[in-house]
Symmetry: C2
Subunit: 128 residues, 2 copies
């Protein structure tokens, strides 16, 4: 049996980018990385599990913040090297800055303008 | 003056991933790469210009197919290393397979199922 994980074209580091998109609004919330184990765990748990390149370990999104992502759908692109997750974002906050989305900067008149509010102080989110 | 392009954290190859998302439906259409020149050209033209890693040159999306992407908004994430473009997709087809989106495979019961139709035969799209 061909394993669905074998159809993913992992890069030289065994990773692919994964885009988390709000399942209802369609807003792109964040982009992180997955290795084989992370994608497998995501499918199994129904919650987003990434690979943290900075900490070099699996990262169950929301493990500290409580802001888990319930996965409604997993998609793969034509080149088989990018994943899209349709998620229900618990707490309505995906970004470590306390914003809904990591994409809170918009290019306007030659500068990156911050257009989205902080919904919760990060010091409140990561209290431990 | 700080150049807005300097705030982007280009990787070791001088690239960042760029996600093109339909400005109205929110559908994620494709992911490609940009270098500094590509992002600069995208902002200047108001049309998506990527860096083709396979052809090693600037790639004005739609230059062959006519399926250009009119750029409505350019966003940057918290880590400053991923770009999101809100685009109006000319011809309604972003994927080289002739589909609206490159993300036409959905994980179902342990297999990647193709769920989106081919809207136009690629041989018709790339006729030259």
């Amino acid at each position: 049996m061909t394993d669905w994980l074998d159809l993913v074209r992992w890069d030289d580091n065994g990773l692919v980018p994964a885009i988390a998109q709000d399942a209802i609004s369609g807003r792109i919330l964040m982009v992180a990385w997955m290795n084989r184990e992370a994608l497998s765990a995501t499918a199994e748990k129904g919650q987003a599990v990434y690979w943290s390149r900075s900490r070099n370990k699996l990262w169950h999104k929301g493990e500290e913040s409580g802001h888990t992502q319930l996965v409604k759908e997993i998609r793969l692109d034509c080149d088989q090297d990018v994943i899209v997750l349709h998620v229900e974002q618990q707490g309505g906050i995906a970004c470590h800055t306390g914003r809904e989305s990591c994409f809170f900067r918009v290019l306007k008149n030659g500068t990156w303008e911050i257009v989205d509010p902080v919904l919760k102080d990060p010091r409140e989110i990561y209290r431990e």
